[in-house]
Symmetry: C2
Subunit: 266 residues, 2 copies
């Protein structure tokens, strides 16, 4: 049976609210996700909340399923009010459900590259919205997951989880330094494709092979030169205007759709 | 000669800081943009700051050019410090230059459709980051500009300007209700292309004609049914994973690159 919490001073409210900060997520190994649809996708992918908050008076079969799964796995379902949901999520119009989840391991060695033909690799990505959007795109193009290289923004941040629209739970996530990543990459098959301003090769020119690893660089700096040299294929997306680059998540998506469009044509 | 401001209590600091709110931008017809590179792009596109703030001790030929242009046009150049730049922009690590500009007129009738082969139309777009990213993509694909239909987020918001990376100054921007937009669109040539979940037509299937108008809907709801019916061409971007949609700015970019890729092939 769900218990009720309606007091701001409740220690659990304070603890969960603290998960908006990275140091608390790291210390507790937990993060939060919001929204009935996203939590349901998480459940379908095998992720059960440790704690489930839901707004009093909310009735939905999907919520019933979430409550049952949470309690069945030894977690806690908590009925609360909109003010507390707002306090937890920081959103003006909070979703009526919010789940607290255990963070996943992000060990690169555990990644099974044979499970997908396409992988996305982001280097020193700084913006949580970009990270989440790249995860969402990864799901759409049938990627296996996202490999975070060097010092990237936390994939378990509230903004990244929100922008991923549930893809955080369906995409594999790994993190590694560049050297470790290259060692892992070269221990098996894979074409490393970098998007760059320092090449004349149009991104529609190469015939992409499987498995493909699309490498996208930091929002402001792009890829370091040494990283570009490691790429098997460097490509340039045409820029017809005044600017010389696209948003990082947009560049990733444009490249990834070219790769799968080639494969769709067979 | 630039004057100096170092006091938080200066009324100009208060006024400019107020431009982070839409009601103040509307009341004063002004908005702000940050960064030497973006302000320089603005200048090249003919936009001179009404007021230019720059950090004391900053030396750069591009800054000299901005100061000269600002003062030459009767505006004011103001030397200030990092604390005040932070207060103005709201950013932890503020850029060393910040400009205050007159908002542009956004009259649809003033748009010259013959000036470009591609236009982007956004309907009820809510997220300023998406709006700015769509402007940035519009520049990259050689679009003429962005038409904002129905109640969209303010293109002059700090977040939208920032995400546009200067494209706010190089893309034309118009705003109109749906009825007015359709009347304007049908008064001349143009193919209205909607991305939708309610069609089986793959986005690579049609042969796109010029001028093309790519219509993207609200982040959460997509396009209203009546709006989809008005489209000449409805297309679907393949979704290979669990999710059924892409981020709005990503969907716009993937569609726009398909259109210009067809035209590049001739």
């Amino acid at each position: 049976m769900p218990r009720q919490i309606t007091a701001f001073s409740n220690p659990l409210v304070k603890q969960v609210r603290g998960l908006r900060e990275k140091k608390n997520r790291r210390a507790e190994g937990l993060f939060m996700a919001e929204g009935l649809r996203i939590l349901t996708e998480a459940l379908e992918a095998g992720h059960v909340p440790r704690i489930l908050f839901f707004g009093a008076g909310t009735r939905h079969p999907l919520l019933d399923a979430l409550i049952a799964a949470t309690e069945g796995a030894g977690g806690e379902a908590i009925e609360t009010n909109a003010d507390i949901l707002h306090k937890l999520s920081g959103k003006e119009n909070p979703q009526v459900v919010l789940g607290v989840y255990e963070a996943f391991p992000t060990d690169l060695e555990a990644l099974d590259r044979s499970s997908a033909d396409l992988w996305i690799v982001a280097q020193a990505l700084r913006d949580p919205g970009n990270l989440g959007t790249i995860l969402r795109t990864g799901d759409a193009v049938g990627a296996g997951g996202l490999i975070l290289v060097d010092d990237c923004v936390d994939p378990f941040s509230v903004e990244a989880v929100r922008a991923s629209m549930g893809a955080l739970f369906t995409q594999r996530i790994a993190a590694a330094g560049w050297e470790s990543f290259v060692r892992w990459l070269r221990s098996g098959e894979g074409e490393l494709i970098g998007t760059s301003l320092h090449t004349d090769q149009d991104y529609q020119q190469p015939r992409y092979r499987k498995p493909a690893f699309i490498l996208v660089g930091n929002e402001a700096q792009g890829l370091p030169e040494a990283y570009e040299r490691e790429c098997d294929t460097l490509v340039k997306i045409p820029m017809l205007g005044k600017a010389d680059s696209l948003n990082a998540a947009v560049a990733t998506a444009v490249t990834a759709y070219e790769v799968i469009n080639q494969w769709r044509r067979g």
